[in-house]
Subunit: 385 residues, 2 copies
Amino acid sequence: MKNFNFYNPTRILFGKNSIADLKDQVPDDAKVMILYGGGSAERTGVLDQVRSALAGRTVLEFGGIEPNPRFATAMKAVEMIREKEITFLLAVGGGSVIDATKFIAAAAKYDGDTWEILTSRGSVIKQALPFGTVLTLPATGSEMNSGGVITNPEKGAKLPFNSVYCYPIFSVLDPEVTYTLPTRQIANGVVDAFVHTIEQYLTYPAAAYVQDGFAESLLRTLIDLGPKALETPENYDIRANLMWTATMALNGLIGAGVPQDWASHMIGHEITALNDTDHARTLAVVLPSLMNDQRGPKREKLLQYASNVWGIHEGSDDVRIDAVIDATCGFFEQMGIKTRLGDYGIDAHDIDHIVTALQDHGMTALGENKAIAPDDARRILEAAL
Amino acid sequence: MKNFNFYNPTRILFGKNSIADLKDQVPDDAKVMILYGGGSAERTGVLDQVRSALAGRTVLEFGGIEPNPRFATAMKAVEMIREKEITFLLAVGGGSVIDATKFIAAAAKYDGDTWEILTSRGSVIKQALPFGTVLTLPATGSEMNSGGVITNPEKGAKLPFNSVYCYPIFSVLDPEVTYTLPTRQIANGVVDAFVHTIEQYLTYPAAAYVQDGFAESLLRTLIDLGPKALETPENYDIRANLMWTATMALNGLIGAGVPQDWASHMIGHEITALNDTDHARTLAVVLPSLMNDQRGPKREKLLQYASNVWGIHEGSDDVRIDAVIDATCGFFEQMGIKTRLGDYGIDAHDIDHIVTALQDHGMTALGENKAIAPDDARRILEAAL
């Protein structure tokens, strides 16, 4: 096991009707801003539940945070916060709204040019407004970690940031609010959580048996429950376990003390930048091809994954690795998510563009061994056509 | 899954040479009291490592905290803290030293009669001195939770307390400091962590697949590594995984959203009170007999435990339950821990005393269903003679 420093102070309020518990978590004298995205929080009644829970407090609302949230939108919120002297933020939404709220919380307390928060990857953050979240979409894990991603189309930039000041004070996870999500979003969320787990697990052996066991358990849960969640959207136990799995997949716990990969994410980001393919779908394309390409360095963990997650025990090493890659693709397809670049309108010519973008963004030494260079990424992409 | 509220803000500094990292965790201007137990912290060099890490700071030391730490000892520390205006506590030891430090941290900031902290089970605590820990014995999980137990022989009382103000700010876990522990303490620690996990897992099905998967993974790790830890005391990976497992077994995570039992602990406490049998050994006696006795209400989880932890799939329900109880006893015996009351000099006459003590302490409705009455406890104990 590698040395590690684990810290996660976010309180989780989990379960049926838990939105009402907000009233005990937001300070009585707070001036609150509720931040949300498009119309779904209103349509599904989640916003009304939040408003009821905060009845009697001073509350402003700020809607319209986009998927891949924009710097300019966030700065509008910051302006309003400063003008109205808001003291507490409440994100109501999925990963985009929560990521934006983290940035806004830090930017509202930042004296300099707030763009520096992103160029410094968050290291300039020394304080942030306190904030909580009400999660509506299980996927990114943003509800229990301290990172986010903000997009600035004018600068052609999509930049991550992270700061110890950006943990939510609390996050409310009511699985019932996911009943009405579109199939596509549930499928994306399951695959996103799956690949988050894989990025922290499928590397090289580090004798971290606790973390491996937890990761394998999350993967088995997603494989078992993902397809069932599509079939029976209003099954509480399925939605509850998916929601908690997605949170546990990226709250720092399974990643503590182990090597991490994240190459599929970095390559996938450039595909999204190219033609706006859903993030989870880019992962479903890149990961299987990367597993196949990296079967040398990842051999031991691929065999462990085959055995402990999929029960694949028969055949030579390569036969078992072939089988587990097939099984992984099969799972993504079962979730209604295609696994070839061609399925998303990307052809051989586009690969040049993607590889150049990786180089432009400094992504020239990816993976747990920092050994995936642009040429390797090209080969992985070509095999995924 | 049941609704839950999960919160754990303790920072974990894990790994080789991590004691040196103390210097960044204790405030520069703190007046520190180091609290420890007997001579082992001195003998093993752990105290010297701590002193080096805190070089340049104002540091006082308070040694002599007993196993089953005493109220009177804790109050001597409180007196010195008030007199010397100590601002930060650092526990160096196992569960007893850490439990005592939690109580001392709260008592030093309590205006009334500090005994009320225990009679209220901690509910009167409204503040505590900040404190960290350096763990030397993996077992109780106290390094990453907010509870403790204090004994007062004059009042014939051993009382638990819990408070959100009693989380360590940080805990340092260096697996290398466990190399020199006596075999008996390692064995006790493994069995203690095992039964902590079982108490939160072996109840009735609650559709908490994430928590079940994590618990099963911890149990498999203990079964695999426990005996190896006795054979090869200086194997870093084994000690590291045992240490992290024991922490994860009682930091609130696997217990969030599930029913909990704790009957084996409550019955075991009275055995320790009777003749000072090691805590873990009382659990190794009571748990197998309780599993056998409660095979009705626990049937589904016993079969899940047999299958997922021990790979027992053959035979009727009762055959598999018999087999998994045998396997559990076999594991305890393999750790050098006997599983019958007679092994600890307890006979049929003593059972009356134990059952009366349970009644006197209000332990009349134990277990996840609050259905284990004193007569049931008597039957469980008689079957363990």
